[in-house]
Symmetry: C2
Amino acid sequence: MVSKKDIKLISSLKHKKFRDLNSAFVVEGIKSISEFLISQFKLVKLFSIDCSAFDFVTNQIEVDYNELKKISFFNNPDDHLAIFEIPNKNPVDHNNLIIALESIRDPGNLGTIIRTCEWFGIKDVICSNDSVDCFNPKVIQSAMGSLSRMNVNYVDLNSYLKNTKLDLIGATLNGKSIYKTDLQFDKGILIFGNEANGVSDKLCDVLDYNLTIPRSGINDFPDSLNLSISVGIFLGEIKRKIFSD
Amino acid sequence: MVSKKDIKLISSLKHKKFRDLNSAFVVEGIKSISEFLISQFKLVKLFSIDCSAFDFVTNQIEVDYNELKKISFFNNPDDHLAIFEIPNKNPVDHNNLIIALESIRDPGNLGTIIRTCEWFGIKDVICSNDSVDCFNPKVIQSAMGSLSRMNVNYVDLNSYLKNTKLDLIGATLNGKSIYKTDLQFDKGILIFGNEANGVSDKLCDVLDYNLTIPRSGINDFPDSLNLSISVGIFLGEIKRKIFSD
């Protein structure tokens, strides 16, 4: 049975302020919870309709469907809901390609980007401080477990990029075609801007490379690609070299 | 002012059954509505907080924010909401590359795929009959106007693919690497499966090419890429030839 205290805590974890205050966040669904359980993340408490699914977990509370529906952030909850501790961040590994996101707003995009990054072997995502929180429930949901293995840091992106010696590659709408550039980047920072405004002028000023996915439609629509699609195409194109050798 | 009849009609258009019954669907937001207005789609009625934005539209009703909030499908409605007629479908153009989607469920994915397809010059998307409806409000939202220029047909995909002479290229998890294949497809049908299950065995049996975006991460995670990301990477890779020549 879920206590009133737990209900209050879980409900508060919908909001970043309370996630920070409690150093905790919520993961839902058997697949994601399984992946967080075998990661570095530390479980606080698990609420299950069917405790046998995670019978090795001691800190587990059996609940019925109505209780789960009460604590879940989704309309159709899966059978399990877990609270995990927010861990300390690891330092960024500068020997690999890093993805930087400026003022990203859409949690679904951030989650999908984290999942895509993992597919392509990226270990570090850095976000500007005003970006959506990576422990937002919708990020967790769309990252499908990949967040448990990705190092996501929040930084003053402007000053971070000014102070690094790594190659800075920006994804913009007016750069050189990625298909006419030899994208041999096994390190460096690949920078994507906000969904509506793209990479800001301030950050454009510090780029070493300004690259674009060319549009091949016959008219001037759409204005742009979805942000996570752009990340996928850039990473595919950068990694292509490895696979086609 | 919005009439009770209009409120009832708009609310019903959230559901496919009533969209089909009324041959109508809802578009929200100035950008998408603008694009539908200059397309082949026929406006039924426009509800605006600021009528001057579309002063050329005669069939327009001025509303206040509270009225708009009442009829909008979203929590934070934009200033305009329009009802458009569902048009007759155009036949599929077999002289271009066509995207086929099997049992796609997520409206956000379908919308993003339609937007991505337009970016890469695709004109036709065909969906299996059990796929999410392209006039679903979330599809319209994530397609960002691109649906107004895309020909989306719903078919018995199995029999459609069996009866075509076009090349059938399937995106699966166990095919040949797209980076080791010469993707010279200016026509043919590129087939993507359901979010959870991929291309079904039935459809796999009729494929001419079985292709995969290879994973470059060090472990076996994630299981797969998001569906719309896969479409983006496949299209980028197919179109790369055009741009790099």
